[in-house]
Symmetry: D2
Subunit: 261 residues, 4 copies
Amino acid sequence: MVDLSADYRLKDVTIYEKWYKIEHKSPQFLKEAVYGLCEVNREKVKQARLVANPGCYTTCSILTAYPLIKEGLIDTETLIVDAKSGTSGAGRGAKLPNLFCEVNENMKAYGVAVHRHTPEIEEQLGYAAGKEMTISFTPHLVPMNRGILATEYASLKKKRQPDGSFSLPSYEEIKAVYDKYYDKEYFVRVLDQGVYPETKWVEGSNYVDIGFQIDERTGRIIMMGAIDNLVKGAAGQAVQNMNLMFGMEETEGLKLVPVFP
Amino acid sequence: MVDLSADYRLKDVTIYEKWYKIEHKSPQFLKEAVYGLCEVNREKVKQARLVANPGCYTTCSILTAYPLIKEGLIDTETLIVDAKSGTSGAGRGAKLPNLFCEVNENMKAYGVAVHRHTPEIEEQLGYAAGKEMTISFTPHLVPMNRGILATEYASLKKKRQPDGSFSLPSYEEIKAVYDKYYDKEYFVRVLDQGVYPETKWVEGSNYVDIGFQIDERTGRIIMMGAIDNLVKGAAGQAVQNMNLMFGMEETEGLKLVPVFP
Amino acid sequence: MVDLSADYRLKDVTIYEKWYKIEHKSPQFLKEAVYGLCEVNREKVKQARLVANPGCYTTCSILTAYPLIKEGLIDTETLIVDAKSGTSGAGRGAKLPNLFCEVNENMKAYGVAVHRHTPEIEEQLGYAAGKEMTISFTPHLVPMNRGILATEYASLKKKRQPDGSFSLPSYEEIKAVYDKYYDKEYFVRVLDQGVYPETKWVEGSNYVDIGFQIDERTGRIIMMGAIDNLVKGAAGQAVQNMNLMFGMEETEGLKLVPVFP
Amino acid sequence: MVDLSADYRLKDVTIYEKWYKIEHKSPQFLKEAVYGLCEVNREKVKQARLVANPGCYTTCSILTAYPLIKEGLIDTETLIVDAKSGTSGAGRGAKLPNLFCEVNENMKAYGVAVHRHTPEIEEQLGYAAGKEMTISFTPHLVPMNRGILATEYASLKKKRQPDGSFSLPSYEEIKAVYDKYYDKEYFVRVLDQGVYPETKWVEGSNYVDIGFQIDERTGRIIMMGAIDNLVKGAAGQAVQNMNLMFGMEETEGLKLVPVFP
């Protein structure tokens, strides 16, 4: 079973109940549930009976920062995720704030500091970091149908150089870390130097596009990731999980070319 | 003279030439030029012969954070500005990236870590802080005609409490600081608790709408500001400056009601 | 009283009840009600106690064709109005078809052959023609907030020439007819030859922009009119009516400059 | 060869040179060129060496009206095509009128009475009618990336009934005619009664969606057709033609599911 709800994404029932403000009805399945972010948990997904399909914001936010956190390159206390989403992320309910005239020619933040995808990102990146993480996560509504762009900020750890001084890692060092994790991933495309992802480049596809920029002046890295929230952020990833669970080719049914324009 | 170019915004020629990559042709006017952010420099503008009209991103970014920096409430090293702009900010040149089909249903960051409005924000906020500031500033292109939304992140300084412990300032304390600076400002509207600005609320007007959220978990404050980049971010502010320079009512010609929807 | 509902727009109760499918609750006011299309009924509006403010589609559709029908230049049997409207025309109700994701990147016709503005156009243009009219009217939903564009088709009557032959009226003859009716109208702008109206040119204003093209090949004239459905198509026209009723300057409060872009 | 230019679409060189205002450089190929509208010319395409791929507006306009014209149900003198297109139809040239801020929140007609797709529609529908046709064709620019919606108006011929009276054909009769031509067409979907096509329903696919409404009051039929201008209106149809020419399955590579939303 691939579950698209949030019910089995968080291991800790108290965190679930705090952020979702409802009682968990079936905590007995939490232990066996596997968090279905294929690029991170591939082997576990293959063995799983129950997969919790990740949220749209979380998929994008986690994959964009994962290699640098896993390799300990950034100061985990400093991670800030400023995310922007197309309106389909709000579902298809007939609600006033999602009417065309409310969304079109408009932009806003929402759920500031309280969005439910926050603990999901923190839990998964915490596993990568090997310690608890607390992040700032701010979602925004953008006048477009599909697409999530996550712009992530973190301070790079300075490295001791042979001469005893400390300096930021180079572009090549960062790129090598991304390549280590994603070079063989069919659905993750790390872009060339100076190229930043655009949501249009992944629209209708299961791709995750990632770019980054080191800011020497501030010592930060700005990481940017883009997905289609309805594909890699939802149904596409569910199919990817299903493929793994049933021993099929992971890309089966997912070799979709992005729609442009 | 109210100059809408960037030529007299930065006091330091070397910074200008570094970021704009051109030689400054008339540095002799820099000294007398007044940075025309009326809410900050009102008295100087009134006396000015030459006013440098601020950039669109800078107007929004500075005013959103100004009171907290002026009052020393945030750790200036931590300020990050994630800004989103409608496409009119790119001008009216017939360039491929600004075509409808490139922008519509799309979102991207650009000029990451190198955008020219960065030193302008740093200089002005530095004056408020009383020391040099270095910030991260990331502009994004949004599929809408008008509007800038700046989402700003900074660590709040903890305050020593009567019992000797340290804690974050309260909502009321932050609100009082905003009110101290903006309560009498016609064009700045500090929104109610839990309300965040939307670009549509200021479209076609000279207003700056500001909201904020304290994040107890991370110790950060998330500040959000919205302007119409073509009014408060350009022509409207120029008129506001002109009004001040010529002794007219500051709001003359600017009591525009936002267009909704 | 300026009534913005449809209740007093149609003089014939049976037509009202047929198209609106409800019983008319106050037919006793129908006789005195004046149809508030100022450019056509100015003198009557000045004397009116009750003004029926016209519909948005009807205002645009009627004014675009009115001079040619009044002067008998077109074959009234042939009039077809293909109208396109921004989504604010659908109101602010939280309905699925008006959600951003349903409207954006989409276009459709609706209410084909049954839209309630049809009899209103027919009645008013019928007065101008001096006989009953039956037209085709097709509204369309366009992914924009504001604006109506009406494209209208009609066969031009051929005129007997001095040499006994028959030919279509010239551009100059048509233009002269438009000028006869609209030259002194503040809110109607008849565009230059070869220029066709764009909804953006009237957005936020009370203007009606009109252009036309004679098609020698088919003997038809294509007339195009644009208004902002929320201003000249609703509240703006209501103010215009109020100004007339109360002996104020007709343009009072309405000298709004269109918003561009 | 499948040629996507307009060079071999019109059989008559003089008509080509009149509408395109350039000299035809290779008229010697005109005779053998087959107009590649597969649903109409399937057998000819199979034998063709040179196929002229139809224009986007023309594909939609022709297929929407073709069965009724072929069966003589409408008065061919009365056909009016009011077409609306997304902006990708204008190509990717860096031109001012195609900038985001010019197109967004805007709508306009263009090329009124002189658009080059007019003679193409006239020629092909003339073959179906068995006589020369002259139509009104008005293209409009819509703020969306993809999609064409053609709204077509024509007077239905009245039919003599058994009792000697004359009346309009019924819905069922019209539907039967559409079914006769399109029932076995994979890419043409004639919609249910009262359902009108939306461009979103065909976006990214090679489908043509068609709906219609009989207007008893005016004796007209309103026919509506929708395609994706970049698929059935361009590259998709080219592939469909290639498939036919090379003896492959006609749908090879074209079983694309529309993108929604």
